[in-house]
């Protein structure tokens, strides 16, 4: 069992006040708060042993390189990748998807080829593919979802064609909270030899992700959404793909031998890590993953399920409140609108009550278009949130309604 008081004491920000009210932080989908151990770990990099990675004979460089590679190993174990060569550090989910779209596009995409995404993607998993389509004359196909917030898998099967080169889908919708049944996406694609990229930005921090059992070809996520530092992210790719793909950035460290006639590239994963990497961020991310393992991923999952059930029940009891995204399989995110009250008005008043929610389109405009709305209010919770905070949200929403009616 998670001792919530102990857990909350690990996160300094959670004890702040805003406008004189205790902070209720329900914007974990945008970014999560950091436990002290992560902050200490990053500080230790700079106070104890800082040196550039893989670039010196001296002790400082050695120690930093060791900690950096140690972090890679922690990530590998966390997502159960088969080899460390398959785990590449990047700047974040967006950086990873752009890298894959570029490199994969260079190597495999021809005019008329098709790329499949879903209607519930974050813009980060739409725009890089659109850029690729413009560059290569390929075509973007979209898996629709139903009003409940589940992907239409029959439509998906119809979209798969001999021209499909890659399928890029999210693990969890950031706007609706839906957990996508990835096996049902991956199986049919693989039977036609089509690789899959999974956007794990909203998935990796909830429950378990095992890239080998999923059998996805690429898996990407951001450190800052899993209690780690900002500016670090992961691009997992099966070795058979990463060794085939050309690098997308050139520079130091990613090369084997450079002459002006010809340059050969370094081995994996370094081929994709050009220049000085955010090693402090990587080491901090490694510590964040340790923290989650120490808390227990099953325990985290159980607690988040309880919070989701309670939040759904509490908010559903508010007259005129409509929840967007009612899939049977969800993370603890509740997106909603109040009847005749603009999401922005709701968000502004909740803010003044100390409750941080996100309002707007959540970088998923196609999802809003699906419902014919301009945006929603999104409360995205995680294990360090409490039942009392959900009650505060419920009361806050009732206050909003009384102010605007």
């Amino acid at each position: 069992m998670i001792d919530i008081d102990v857990v909350r004491s690990d996160f300094p920000v959670l004890h702040k006040k805003v406008y004189g009210k205790p902070l209720v932080y329900f914007d974990n989908g945008a970014t999560t708060q950091k436990p002290l151990c992560v902050l200490d770990e990053v500080r230790k990099v700079y106070t104890d042993y800082n040196g550039n990675v893989h670039r010196g004979v001296h002790a400082m460089s050695d120690r930093t390189s060791e900690a950096y590679e140690g972090a890679r190993e922690k990530v590998r174990l966390f997502i159960n990748a088969a080899k460390r060569e398959e785990v590449v550090f990047t700047s974040g989910t967006t950086g990873s998807i752009n890298a894959i779209a570029y490199s994969f596009g260079e190597r495999y995409i021809q005019p008329g080829d098709e790329i499949i995404v879903s209607e519930m993607e974050h813009h980060a998993n739409i725009v890089p593919w659109q850029i690729l389509c413009q560059r290569k004359g390929s075509v973007l196909k979209v898996i629709p979802f139903n009003d409940q917030g589940d992907l239409d898998l029959d439509e998906y099967l119809k979209l798969l064609s001999p021209r499909t080169r890659i399928v890029a889908v999210t693990q969890v919708s950031n706007a609706l909270g839906t957990i996508v049944p990835l096996k049902e996406i991956i199986g049919p694609a693989h039977s036609m030899g089509i690789p899959i990229l999974v956007d794990g930005a909203q998935g990796v921090q909830h429950g378990f992700t095992d890239v080998q059992s999923l059998d996805c070809d690429f898996y990407v996520f951001s450190g800052h959404k899993i209690y780690g530092p900002t500016g670090i992210g992961i691009m997992y790719g099966k070795e058979k793909w990463l060794s085939e793909l050309p690098p997308y950035q050139g520079g130091g460290d990613m090369v084997d031998r450079v002459t002006f006639e010809k340059t050969t590239y370094n081995e994996l994963p370094f081929k994709f890590e050009a220049g000085t990497m955010n090693y402090a961020g990587a080491i901090g991310l490694g510590r964040a993953l340790d923290y989650l393992n120490e808390l227990g991923r099953n325990e985290i999952s159980d607690r988040e399920k309880t919070l989701l059930a309670y939040a759904t029940e509490r908010l559903s009891s508010v007259p005129g409140l409509r929840i967007y995204g009612q899939s049977a399989s969800k993370i603890c995110t509740v997106s909603f609108l109040l009847e005749n009250i603009h999401q922005y008005d709701t968000g502004m008043i909740l803010d003044k009550l100390g409750i941080a929610v996100r309002t707007g389109t959540h970088c998923a405009q196609p999802v809003m278009e699906h419902y014919g709305i301009d945006g929603t209010v999104r409360a995205s919770l995680c294990f360090y949130n409490t039942i009392e905070e959900i009650d505060a949200l419920g009361t806050g929403i009732e206050k909003v309604i009384s102010m605007f009616s």
């Binding site: 406008y19 922005y344 008005d345 008043i349 003044k352 309002t359 707007g360 102010m403």
Partner: protein, 148 residues
């Protein structure tokens, strides 16, 4: 149209109205009330041409110029935003182009709306104000063009 108060007098009276409240909720309550009283834009001007970019909520702003003064009507789909536009209109509508262009809106700071002015806040107070000044500048340029 002759305005009863100077730019300074209107601003001071708004500051007075807000000064009774130190709680945020009360301040928002008056903004909401003011939003309800906003001089409503004719629906036919609620089109893309009059939509202000850069707001999380939609704001339509319609200017009219009689050769001397600029009057504004507006609307928004969010009520708090409507209250903020109502304040700007109360202060600036019916004034000369010169007055609008030069206006120093110190009341925003004094009633505690300053944070809403920062460019990172998406409620667009800044965009609304900029748009009002732009209209005034355009009318002024038009006017001086005609008189030459």
């Amino acid at each position: 149209m002759k305005l009863e108060m100077t730019l300074k007098e209107v601003q001071d009276s708004i500051i007075d109205e807000f000064s009774v409240f130190d709680d945020w909720m009360d301040k928002y309550n008056i903004l909401i009330e003011m939003g309800k009283e906003l001089p409503m834009i004719d629906p036919k001007f609620k089109v893309k041409d009059y939509l202000i970019e850069g707001c999380q909520s939609k704001v339509w702003l319609y200017p009219q110029y009689d050769g001397k003064a600029v009057t504004f009507t507006a609307d928004s789909d969010a009520i708090i935003t409507r209250g903020i536009v109502a304040l700007l209109i109360r202060v600036l509508s019916g004034r000369t182009t010169e007055e609008i262009i030069m206006a120093d809106l110190y009341f925003i700071d004094r009633i505690g709306l300053r944070q809403n002015l920062s460019p990172t806040r998406s409620n667009g107070l800044l965009s609304m104000l900029r748009q009002m000044k732009l209209y005034a500048m355009a009318y002024k340029a038009q006017g001086s063009g005609q008189s030459q």
